[in-house]
Symmetry: D2
Subunit: 484 residues, 4 copies
């Protein structure tokens, strides 16, 4: 069938019946695209799918090597520099739609699946069938344009011990049984974003595993539909409040929902298992296959879109209230310009220095992308702070839509106008700024970026340990011993 | 009548009929303490008033010099160090109730009124009656324990010009007429916090005025009841969402509401006018009278309560998920400990070095308080960031009360437990952390602290210009020219 | 004999014969006050001693309880608030002489010795004689006004193991033998500041010791004269360059010298031993006795003097080149004003809340002082950075004294004048700024402040672990469980 | 003659007789390469020239289009991407020699001269001869491989007024007369780096000029030899102290000298004048010609070399004392890794997106380079701070070479050894760290980077004002008005 339209996405969603717990409701009858907590999000995702058939079709899709149908560009196996640029342009096209606030659009995990599938020979080293399962599964996701999510982290009851030791090993999702047809999984994983509107959930390796019998049941990779029997989602309370797109311009459209995933003896057929009881494969899952590189490529395009959004927003705010000429405002603008340019440069540098990996996939250079994912979480904290600085008291007293266009219309027109902008437009702009810097939605975004790839402290350790500093260190020793 | 009880406060509120526009409703029938946007706040304020009759009565009240009734300590004219300590202990008692999140409790403006009233002779220099008006008015507020708010900033249509130049002078509130009985005021002021539940609004000098005819109509100080004819409030959309105290532990109780105030030809009788067409008095209003010092004394006690709250919250979080032994967590804890200790020291230092002002009022030393109000807005930005760091993914997936105690109770008990804490309590604690670092309520608090006393950049300029650096500069010149 | 004059200090120095290795010279003949590396420093220290007989005599000295002679105020056992103020005023008087750049003036360690001596009963619990030794030794230092230094850190060959494990236990100074008269010490300690011009060196407990036989030889406290047989100093290369006080206004006067101390079987008579083979006493040495509190009291006064110096310097610079009206310059000035005020407040707060310790000594409150010593090392890094910002290119091209007053005099007068200041004075001021922000002297000061009390990361851990957060944490739990 | 050898450079230097005032000496007899203040620097520059004939010859030189001789690559007019890479590789080769600490190696200004010369048609619009002068002059510099420096800033007597207003217009260098053969220049400019060892000085437009008669005399561009009659240099006091390369490993080799330049009626023949009395040309001098882009390309390569140096240095330090496994050390290493990768990415991004300018020169994209030069001055402040953090007490007590290899050799071997490194090598490494973070040389480097392109606050303003934010702003307005 190939790349879906928005309606295709909605139709399929209408047929799924995941078990979702949210705000006092137990939803099991499907149709979640109509539920107020998910409707805005479903519409936004549908709009992204619709883009695949619009003017950007050639960017967003390519001809499937198996079916010949147009399928999503995120599945395009890059062989040339132009392929990488096409992939990134597709990422950016989607990311700009939401100003980078949607973090789990399909292209993110599709990019990982593409890389994993190309590396199927490596999976087959562990078990021939697993490699084949992977290829078949990825083809299915591509051809049906399925929306996947994933879930990584074990419950964090006590951060000072490993997953397998949490509460006597009864918490983290693990393989508790095997039968002729597949495996049985029990336990939980934290934070599956967009799970209520996704088709499939990928349950892939998360934290580092030890090569011990104790860790074996935690060593696996598989995929199941979100409405697999025994699978339950407990969604967090939404950060949207039903106020509509004027009052919650970002949240009403882009609130993605995060859920705790509980596996209550979920049976997974073998054809959907890609790794089993192999800690070595698990620990190298992302790096050996270049999956991380391709996923990070998508993330960098998304966070660039977000940085550009903040630069545009700040520029619009500065104009609207006449503060652009102040020195400290210009310093802040310069800071954000530098963020945008640095992010662009890291992406371009990764692309122009791409190299073919062991599986024939042209892979963006890792070092610039690794820097991007270590650096952006820090600057992401600055962006809303600068918006608050620009907006100041102007962000403090924003009336709601019904007042702006109702009884208070005259007052808004007079007292909330801007320098060269009428009252309602100024309120609109500042509502957007509010939703980008103050609202719960903004708060959740700030948190999300900070921990997108995991704990920044551990990531810094991993970066320092993996980065090859030998030659630079040797230069220093050579100088130290230079005789002259 | 003296210090009110919570019921007194509610009863009076029930009788007022301010004109409030909020979220599509035009409220003119009073009874705002029952409106969902204000009910939680009204209850919290009522609870503060109730404290005045509880075990802390001796701290929170003193015998009125005129009536002999117990009245609020914030009106106690300090003559001794013990008086200052009593005042601050009263501030802290109230501030701790809301963890410092309530920014407009009565003691804030009462402290200013006390100082202004004592300086009435200075007001009388401009107009004998004005000084007397002030004394009478302050006595009324004290004896009736009225809740006042104030509103300072002119509408910010264009920040590069003065208030009197905004949109041809038609925006900022100004005196447009005078008759035998009083003055008529037209125009708007921004951001009156708690206005919908306050008794009175103080309309005092705000930005610096030029000694020109053009600025004269903007030069005044007066007070009116919130339900004065012609006075309209346009309240911002609330940052609480009706989810109850489990889900919004801070917002449900302490969301203060901010409103735009419109004076549609409000008539103010002369007995409530304290300054009129006197720019010199206006520009020295706060400093000459020590009003700022006493108000900042209250603010410092409040922001100390807030700092202590964050330290307690972070400590509880660290315990609950077992992260207290990590070095980077300890660094953050140390940072917050230092914030608490610095704030304590600034307060104590101001108190122990207090001096009697020109009007016989023992006044806390200004320099430490000025540092407190310039320094806290910066560190206030750090506190929620550290909470997010500690909470990490644990703040991402919090289910609502109805799930925690309903269908998801078993899952919550198992998967959301902490290191030494059951599931529901962990969710409770993390909901509080969410409301202190991520929610719209948290976002509004962050903004509010940053701009509490005005634009930090301008405040820094004022601090640099007013601080006496002569002696320290001379020391350097002496050294430069030292011969040895 | 009591408080010394500068001449007394020099005379005694002339008689000592420490073994000092410096810049290719092996000095064993004494007279170090004439050596170019130490002469400027010795003059500055002499000037401090001279102050004891000048107009500040009453502040800097008091009548000895044993001899009745005037002795240094740093030995005054505080019983009243006034005593604490007198002590601090004396600290400040000395600190202001060097703008806080002299870190080892006698009052620092004298303050510790005073506290240790008062706690002699606690030392006697371990060994009756040790307590008595301590009292006698401290009396000697006080009555003879000896200048002591100390040395704490074991050599840092490998920071990941304990002192006793460095290079097989052959590095750190340790007790290797005992005889009837005393102990024999072998090994090294790092960084004894001012050792070449000091009379005595205190070798006190440093890092935490384990209660194991292995750590016993490292568990001691004793004092020896700097010219004890077998004791060798290897002084670091100086950060002064013999250019005179015009070109190196700070370094030429206040470069303190740091030395590695080697104990080549130094014999220490028992009467100078205060702790031996008692790890418990060693680990509580500073806190149990309040020695740290009194030493930190001195340090806080010194770092306040330094902060005030930077504020004066920056003010003079801003005036001299006409930059005081720029917004970003005012922000920096405000930052330094806040540093000065915070430091003042922490000191005053510690003093006004002082309490009598177990040994009858009125001791400044620890928490504000602990914050001061954790907080100042961070802000100390900012101060020179701000000086560089103010000075900019003006710090880049400063000619030397011989040019300024020689062949280039006319050019300097014309081209290096300031806004309201002649060329030579501007160069003088900027030379001072250079020596406070760019020179090796400035660099060493920056390093020194950062590590004055040890590694800031470990200090933060110690602060977090020792600070009582129980009540604040309980407040949060009470709120979490509040029903309303 | 083409690319010079070190000896060529020295020989030419030996023949020049600039008038240099330094540290009490008036030097007019030439031979400055033998003067202790300049000898080390001259040797380093000579070494760079020698590289042009060594194994890197093909990178560092190319065949002159006029003479066919090998000339410096910095004069290669880039037409292809490979040309840009060759240019940058040449920049890096030289920069790595000094770890990026030499800021005025010939390739910096050569890059500007190359671009200016190619844009000669634009200069000819003002005056036909000026364009031709420029081409001839640049050819001369290229073919003779002359070393040029420049000087930009007018004396900063009072930063709040323009150059032409300083001290009644008597300070800044200006044209005071014209005759048949040329112009006469009087006044001063600040900070000509390496002037004492340079062949030529470029006196080019500096600050923005107004199109007024008053500013005309300040509107010019010309070049003169450093020993032109009437030209005097007042060199700042050096930041090297004659201690040799062990003790001052960077300063002894790379201390560049900065000088005040005084034009005492210097006559400049017309053939060396490129702009005269044309404020419009002056104000567009760098941007219109792409000179800034090519100069910044060189600077970015240099600051990358510097960043890499710090990363290598920190890595060597961490290994040598065994601190690499600490979390906070890894965070710092990750920060520096990110700096290196960002700098690399900005350079590559500028190169791969290069475009041909109006004069046919392939020019690196400006935005990434502009970000590099705005961003690096900030991170440059962090690098020495991290070195101090790593080195800690180990940087405090470093003995001099004569001690390390003399009387203290045994003690150094024992007590200053590292984890896997002998004593002298550890001292060597830490001396290098000292010279990169604490010494006057390090301080001057920190200052220099911060102000390399001018005041960072003004640069931020220029960046904000020049960066095209229209499209990003429009995106925000489109979203604000999106109906859905």
């Amino acid at each position: 069938m190939g790349a879906r339209s928005g309606q295709d996405f909605i139709d399929r969603l209408a047929q799924r019946h995941p078990h979702v717990q949210i705000d006092g409701e137990t939803l099991t009858d499907g149709g979640l695209h109509r539920h107020p907590a998910f409707a805005g999000l479903a519409r936004s995702y549908a709009a992204l799918y619709d883009l695949q058939a619009g003017p950007e079709r050639d960017t967003l899709t390519f001809a499937s090597p198996s079916s010949g149908e147009r399928v999503a560009t995120s599945f395009l196996v890059p062989r040339t520099y132009e392929d990488l640029v096409k992939r990134r342009t597709a990422f950016s096209t989607w990311a700009n739609y939401s100003f980078g606030t949607l973090g789990r659009t399909g292209d993110y995990l599709n990019s990982g699946l593409m890389a994993l599938s190309e590396a199927s020979s490596w999976f087959s080293e562990s078990n021939k069938e697993f490699g084949e399962n992977l290829v078949r599964y990825v083809e299915k996701v591509r051809e049906e344009d399925l929306l996947t999510t994933h879930t990584l982290i074990p419950p964090q009851v006590n951060r000072s011990v490993a997953a397998s030791q949490q509460a006597g090993g009864t918490l983290a999702a693990r393989v508790v049984a095997e039968d002729d047809n597949g495996i049985v999984v029990r336990g939980a994983r934290m934070v599956a974003t967009i799970a209520p509107i996704a088709d499939e959930i990928l349950v892939f390796p998360s934290t580092v595993l030890r090569n011990t019998p104790e860790d074996e049941p935690y060593s696996y990779a598989f995929a199941v539909p979100l409405d697999a029997p025994g699978l339950r989602l407990i969604a967090r309370q939404p950060v949207l409040h039903g106020r509509g797109s004027f009052d919650e311009p970002l949240a009403s459209r882009f609130e993605e929902s995060d859920a705790l995933v509980i596996f209550d003896d979920v049976h997974v057929p073998y054809e959907r298992v890609f790794v089993l009881r192999d800690t070595a494969i698990c620990n190298q899952f992302y790096t050996r296959t270049s999956a991380t590189a391709h996923m990070t490529h998508q993330v960098a395009a998304r966070t660039l879109a977000k940085s550009e959004f903040y630069l545009g927003l700040l520029s619009a705010m500065a104009e609207s209230i006449g503060i652009g000429q102040f020195g400290h405002i210009q310093e802040d603008l310069a800071e954000v310009i530098n963020i945008v340019e640095i992010q662009k440069a890291l992406i371009q540098s990764a692309e122009t220095q791409a190299a073919v990996n062991d599986f024939g996939v042209l892979t963006p250079k890792w070092e610039p992308l690794n820097t991007s994912r270590n650096w952006f979480p820090k600057v992401a904290q600055r962006l809303p702070a600068i918006v608050r600085k620009f907006g100041a008291g102007g962000l403090m007293g924003l009336p709601g839509a019904e007042d702006v266009f109702g009884a208070a219309a005259d007052d808004v027109a007079t007292y909330l106008q801007g320098k060269a902008i009428d009252g309602p437009d100024r309120v609109r702009l500042f509502k957007l700024a509010f939703d980008a810097s103050i609202s719960s939605f903004a708060g959740r975004q700030t948190l999300y970026e900070n921990f997108f790839f995991g704990d920044p402290v551990r990531m810094a350790g991993a970066l320092a340990n993996s980065y090859d500093r030998t030659e630079l260190t040797q230069r220093v020793w050579d100088f130290v011993k230079r005789e002259d």
